[in-house]
């Protein structure tokens, strides 16, 4: 996460207010990486086109990983592509989030059994925040995944998590 994140041991009124401000800013402008892999990319395009209009959630596609907050892994991740995805993820600046869209990137999907070259889930190379099931998920499902990610960001805090 960012520079301030999880640097404080206990919470107080300043920190919670700061939390609210940072989280609000982060969740309202999740810039997305314009990066399609396979079939799901077409649904991702549809989600950002006229009828579903993901831009109303502040999701603007950007072509470079440096400007992005969220990476939507949309499609089958082959072993050849996995190292590239890892590199792209590393190039993103923190705080960064990942939505895994579709069965293929969740777990290998229809290529799970015989796909000798398909990565069985993108979470084997990068950490995933939200999984969107479906083959391919409808644009509404992707938008729901996005809202789930926003909820997750809303509950983030600068305070260190205590071991229970």
């Amino acid at each position: 996460m960012g520079l301030l994140d999880q640097k404080f041991e206990s919470s107080n009124v300043v920190i919670t207010t700061m939390d609210d401000l940072l989280n609000w800013a982060r969740l309202s402008s999740l810039w997305q990486m314009q990066f399609g892999l396979a079939c799901c990319a077409i649904e991702m395009m549809a989600a950002s086109a006229s009828n579903f209009d993901m831009m109303r959630f502040g999701v603007i596609p950007r072509a470079t990983p440096r400007q992005c907050d969220v990476m939507i892994v949309s499609g089958t991740v082959t072993l050849k592509m996995a190292s590239r995805i890892k590199r792209l993820y590393d190039q993103m600046s923190e705080p960064r989030y990942v939505i895994s869209m579709g069965s293929c990137s969740n777990c290998g999907g229809p290529y799970w059994e015989h796909g000798y070259h398909v990565l069985k889930g993108v979470d084997r190379v990068i950490p995933v925040d939200v999984y969107v099931p479906g083959c391919p998920p409808r644009p509404e499902a992707l938008i729901e995944g996005l809202i789930k990610l926003q909820e997750k960001i809303r509950n983030e805090s600068l305070v260190q998590k205590k071991a229970v």
């Binding site: 396979a38 077409i42 006229s50 072509a63 082959t78 050849k80 290529y111 015989h114 796909g115």
Partner: protein
């Protein structure tokens, strides 16, 4: 590294040399339409060589077919090959399998298949032209076209429940008959869509900036297109009148009246990027004509009558091909005495069309390479399979 012909001297008499440079384009690039990687050799900004690297989306379609437990199970994988035009893929597989099994399909099935694949052709061309517009810096056509594409997807959804990957055309029939209200909704769509087509045609294709970016760029001469076995809008854009729907009618296409669109070089040379784009634009009108005729003469019948319960063909082989939105899409099926295919080979038009990229982009500017890739209209799922 090779020397260029021109040598430049500084004021002190030193000779300056330019060197060629290798630029890597992709696999993550907004205009490579997926995960294509191009190794581009540049002399300044002039393209010297383009070497496409593929395999980032290889999903071993052909290997999967051999592992299935029946012929019917292949259909969902066929969908995922060219995910922009799933209906045509299913149609090609069904045509090949029916040829192998010698199944006679009811007329209604043929008509519905034609309606579906023409709707799919429009949907695919809408994506092609819309994203091509984005590559050229025009965002508006994309929004207009996606709005209308959603209406085609609605039609598909009310028929078979899926938006993108349908599993609708089965061997010997269809998974569902047309739902009530489909015909009226399709007619409504056609009426509305004609307005959009005309509007966007004026907005995009006759835009001065667009013409400057596309005319005389990436010229593919007639003989080169034939030698490289290009097909679809790529071939027709170069002025070759070849369309499988007319020249090798596979279902009942010979019953309808429509024209094969060819590029004429209106804005520049025959076979340039503008021509290829325009062939797609005009083909949508022809598809609408076919759909209108098919809807008017749709026969009655049971769409699931000819579906075989268990498929175990006589050993042999068959090749079935259809005219997909990208060109000749064919499946070659080799059958042995078993319930699974021994081997399925897919002839993917996008793969064949992509092979010509090195020839047509030599001497172009790097920015024009984006236009050329966009005009080839590749789908990486089909290129890599």
């Amino acid at each position: 590294m090779t020397e260029t012909t021109e040598t430049i001297k500084t004021s002190t008499g030193r000779v300056l040399r330019t060197e060629e440079m290798v630029v890597n384009m992709g696999p993550q690039h907004p205009s490579t339409h997926g995960v294509l990687r191009l190794e581009v050799v540049l002399d300044g900004e002039i393209v010297v060589d383009v070497i496409p690297h593929m395999g980032y989306l290889h999903r071993c379609f052909e290997k999967h077919c051999e592992h299935m437990t029946s012929y019917q199970q292949v259909v969902p994988y066929v969908d995922r090959m060219d995910y922009v035009a799933s209906m045509t893929n299913e149609m090609a597989y069904a045509v090949a399998a029916e040829k192998l099994l010698k199944i006679e399909v009811p007329e209604r099935v043929h008509y519905i298949r034609i309606i579906m694949s023409e709707l799919q052709r429009i949907a695919s061309h809408l994506i092609a032209i819309g994203t091509f517009g984005i590559d050229m810096g025009a965002f508006t056509p994309f929004l207009y076209y996606f709005r209308d594409r959603e209406r085609i997807l609605e039609l598909f959804e009310m028929t078979c429940g899926a938006r993108l990957l349908y599993n609708y055309i089965w061997i010997g029939g269809l998974s569902h008959d047309l739902p009530p209200g489909f015909i009226e909704k399709t007619r409504e769509f056609i009426t509305d869509f004609k307005k959009t087509l005309k509007e966007v045609n004026d907005l995009l294709n006759y835009n001065e900036i667009f013409i400057k970016r596309t005319a005389n760029v990436g010229v593919l001469p007639k003989d080169l297109a034939i030698n490289y076995a290009c097909s679809g809008p790529m071939l027709r854009g170069s002025g070759v009148s070849w369309d499988l729907r007319r020249d090798d009618p596979y279902t009942l296409y010979d019953r309808f009246e429509w024209d094969v669109i060819v590029g004429k070089g209106e804005m520049g040379t025959v076979g340039d990027v503008w021509d290829r784009n325009m062939v797609r634009q005009r083909e949508m009108w022809e598809s609408l004509r076919i759909i209108e005729q098919a809807l008017a003469s749709l026969p009655e019948g049971d769409v699931q009558k000819a579906i075989p319960k268990r498929i175990r063909p006589v050993p042999g082989d068959a090749y079935g091909r259809v005219e997909g939105p990208r060109g000749e899409l064919g499946f070659y099926i080799v059958a042995e005495d078993s319930v699974t295919p021994y081997r399925i080979k897919a002839r993917a038009p996008a793969f064949v069309n992509l092979s010509v990229i090195n020839e047509i982009s030599k001497g172009a500017m790097l920015a024009d390479l984006v236009a050329i890739i966009g005009s080839i209209d590749i789908v990486l799922g089909e290129v890599d399979r």
